[in-house]
Symmetry: C2
Subunit: 181 residues, 2 copies
């Protein structure tokens, strides 16, 4: 499972193996960086090369990408959207299925509440993956959280019964329901 | 000169040859469409394939892409940004130089005023390229306008003297100056 937190300056990439019992193991984590003063097309090519390298090394079957909203009125939102487009294109060109998750869905799946802050996400990702240190920077932790979220979400799709959902799964289902309105 | 008006549902593509005397000739015009109900990664792959096909057929040296702004608060703005990222990536991967122009710069270059409407741009593109009919849809005309704008802009970069600028060139220089503030 390959998670991508898209960005031009820092693009988080994380690969995890998730077992049937929902336990997750770290395979790869990193951040692809591109220089702020480079031409936009060169920056996007750097991001693309980094994503392709991870796919070539780890052969994931699925790519989970953070969904970008225009309402996030940061100056970087256009570059983030462009990087997410690159990530999705590369998934398609490698025959991988792609999924999009909102930050709220990811936080809910990982921590049990959609309003969690970056530090709480980092701490839960470290605990889930049994890491000795917090994954840094936050973009790398977010990429791992996306990958775990999507793997768990697929497991959630057909639970034995809704009574077997964990608090995090219930929070995810609620976040997903809200985002579909 | 290859102009791209990025979009997910309709991506305008236009290739023109521009001579030293600024006269322009139509080489290729079209619209790449992707189905609204297809997965986003498949739509982006369709756009990418269409852009690569134009490059393979016509071997342009430069790609001019419309600059997308987050302030354009349309629901399609994220898809447009993703498509523009794809266009810029493909330019880089083919060793082509890329340029971005705002809609205001393009309208000013083509019609002489940055507030021109779609119909005025279509009419001037038809006149510049000596076409019997207006290029349609507007996305296709915009792609041609981008290509012409960028070719002329390069010519404008080192004019014999500022006194030789046409009204359209002066409007372009003003639009560019404003956009750099």
């Amino acid at each position: 499972m390959f998670g991508i937190d898209p960005g031009l300056t820092r693009c988080g990439v994380g690969v995890v193996d998730v077992a049937r019992d929902r336990s997750a193991t770290l395979v790869h984590v990193g951040v692809i960086r591109s220089p702020v003063d480079a031409p936009i097309e060169a920056r996007l090519a750097t991001i693309a090369a980094g994503i392709r390298e991870v796919i070539g090394l780890h052969r994931p079957h699925v790519v989970a990408v953070e969904r970008v909203f225009a309402q996030q009125n940061r100056s970087t939102v256009m570059g983030t959207a462009q990087a997410s487009g690159i990530a999705l294109l590369i998934a398609a060109e490698n025959g991988l299925s792609a999924a999009l998750h909102t930050p709220t869905e990811v936080k809910a799946a990982i921590t049990g509440h959609g309003g969690a802050d970056k530090r709480q996400v980092q701490a839960m990702v470290a605990r889930i993956l049994r890491l000795d240190e917090l994954p840094k920077p936050a973009d790398a932790a977010d990429a791992l959280a996306l990958a775990i979220c999507h793997a768990w979400r697929r497991g959630v799709a057909a639970p034995a019964s809704s009574g077997t959902l964990t608090p995090a799964q219930r929070a995810w289902a609620e976040a997903e329901r809200v985002s579909r309105r």
